[in-house]
Symmetry: C2
Subunit: 314 residues, 2 copies
């Protein structure tokens, strides 16, 4: 596999997702990986001997990267991604900066991988709730036509970054609470708005009615989602189980939980049953490791898809 | 208020809900309260000086109680409640034993308090998720007619009893997880089946389509619920806010959380917005102290309603 020699830069290498990205690249046998972070972390030697470089515009534009995997905040991505692209790298960006930009593919390889090949330098990686949701919705849509989706989320604190994990670990158990720690867009959290807009873009259903309530729960890693969906044609739960059992990166289990999801690369889905409140309605529950398939792994899979199709220099 | 002299027995007095029941009765000025529990706890002196008596059939049937507030398991309620009734007490039972029994009123005082007056010895107290849900649904139903309800829950471990609280406190944070720790009825948890059947009985809408996913979260006290509802007639979010703001025991806030709910007797409701996935649809989020209004307080309010109307001997 020649692409294991690809020159890969991990930007935001010391964060929650960046750390997982480096581990996954090592496990997959990549030999030419560099780590970039803010000036504060520059010079630090990581567990695997890689020394962190400062993520300056010049360093990223130097022309010695085939792929740059960005897991930094949205404003840092806006600032830095164009420099990596200018230097000839393909940027796979995990922030919200480019997800809805026309012309930038927003990709879950199992769902719309072909779209990645249309990139002009940037491929966007979806939100950590959107990835598992679309993995589950896609085969059901192909079989029966999605009419409507409602989701409530149970999102772990690691989705808010490494610092929030430390805060949770330091907080007395009796003070743990639910929260909605997102920015607001009118009457929604921006997470709810993202989940709708990104799901529509990935499934190429720009009018899909989708309504979400996003909630942070005091769990360290692993996001879960309670999903109601309605389809154009009837879809029996047994049929949905069969479709999901055959879908890539999806595993049907009895009761998906965040902890179980952290031991797998798959999206766990279960509790698949008829919606007693609707015709052609199904209810299900899913869980996914938000740092792994929900972020780092999905981005690496995008990079591998491009490397395999020679849509990057390597 | 003469009913403060009522002879009240608290059965299951050492459990999570029983402990709150005794505290609330003390705060409300009741002077004639006795505590009953299993033989294991009999003889123990509680903080307020009350000595726990064993909850034997004979003790409960002795005829010296006006009201018996039961917070024991369903099978213990089935065994013991009839003895209290035989002794002349009105039993307010917090277990699932009698909730769906024809002829036994299932009561949330703010929603269907008048039904309590029809009792023949037993009044059932609903499930800790049903109580806040019906407090919120009732004024909306009266105004616009409920057509359909979907709920996903975020239930704290105290709903599973005092021992589960200890387990959570002893467990390392990194092991905290979601769970669905209920018995199963076909493809549903029995909690999901209860939420539907009890909501229908209380609202007197026996056919109301209602679909629930119940989830335990690693929070000590306070249950939350994400709710989607559809109405027969259009109901603007502003109108719903106004109706809920005027509803008894309901308080409209921006973002209800379990921790905030433990500092109040009210059901907190917020995030009231249109359901972008349905016509005549609303989405909202609620939180309620499952040990207080979700259990102990509601049962005491039932007892007070009966005492005020002289439907018990006192």
């Amino acid at each position: 596999m020649p692409e294991r020699d690809a020159r890969i830069g991990v930007v935001g290498a010391t964060g929650a997702v960046g750390t997982v990205t480096l581990r996954l690249l090592r496990e997959r046998g990549y030999t030419n990986v560099r780590a970039f972070a803010s000036g504060r972390s520059a010079g630090r030697e990581l567990d695997d001997g890689i020394v962190v470089e400062e993520a300056t515009p010049d360093a990223l534009a130097a022309g010695d990267l085939d792929v740059a995997l960005f897991s930094v905040g949205t404003s840092a991505s806006r600032e830095l991604v164009p420099h990596a692209v200018r230097g000839g790298a393909v940027a796979v960006d995990k922030s919200a900066a480019y997800r809805l930009t026309p012309g930038v593919p927003l990709v879950v390889p199992e769902v719309n991988g072909e779209r990645a090949l249309e990139h002009e330098g940037i491929v966007a990686n979806p939100n950590c709730c959107t990835i598992p949701l679309t993995c589950v919705l896609k085969p059901l849509h192909d079989a029966a036509g999605l009419r409507r989706v409602r989701v409530s989320t149970y999102q772990s604190v690691s989705g808010a970054g490494a610092q929030r994990m430390e805060t949770l670990l330091a907080e007395p158990q009796a003070e743990h609470d639910l929260s909605m720690d997102w920015a607001w867009e009118g009457d929604e959290t921006d997470e709810e708005a993202k989940l709708r807009a990104e799901t529509r873009k990935i499934l190429e259903l720009p009018e899909l009615p989708i309504s979400a309530t996003t909630v942070r729960v005091p769990v360290l890693v692993g996001h879960a989602e309670a999903v109601w969906l309605e389809t154009e044609r009837p879809l029996a739960p047994e049929e949905a189980v069969q479709l999901l059992g055959a879908a890539p990166s999806v595993r049907v289990v009895d009761v998906p939980t965040p902890r179980a999801s952290t031991q797998t690369d798959d999206v766990l889905v279960g509790r698949i049953r008829p919606d007693r409140a609707a015709e052609n309605g199904l209810v299900l529950f899913l869980a996914c490791d938000n740092l792994n398939k929900g972020a780092a792994l999905n981005a690496i899979q995008i990079a591998e898809l491009l490397l395999a199709r020679q849509r990057v220099a390597a």
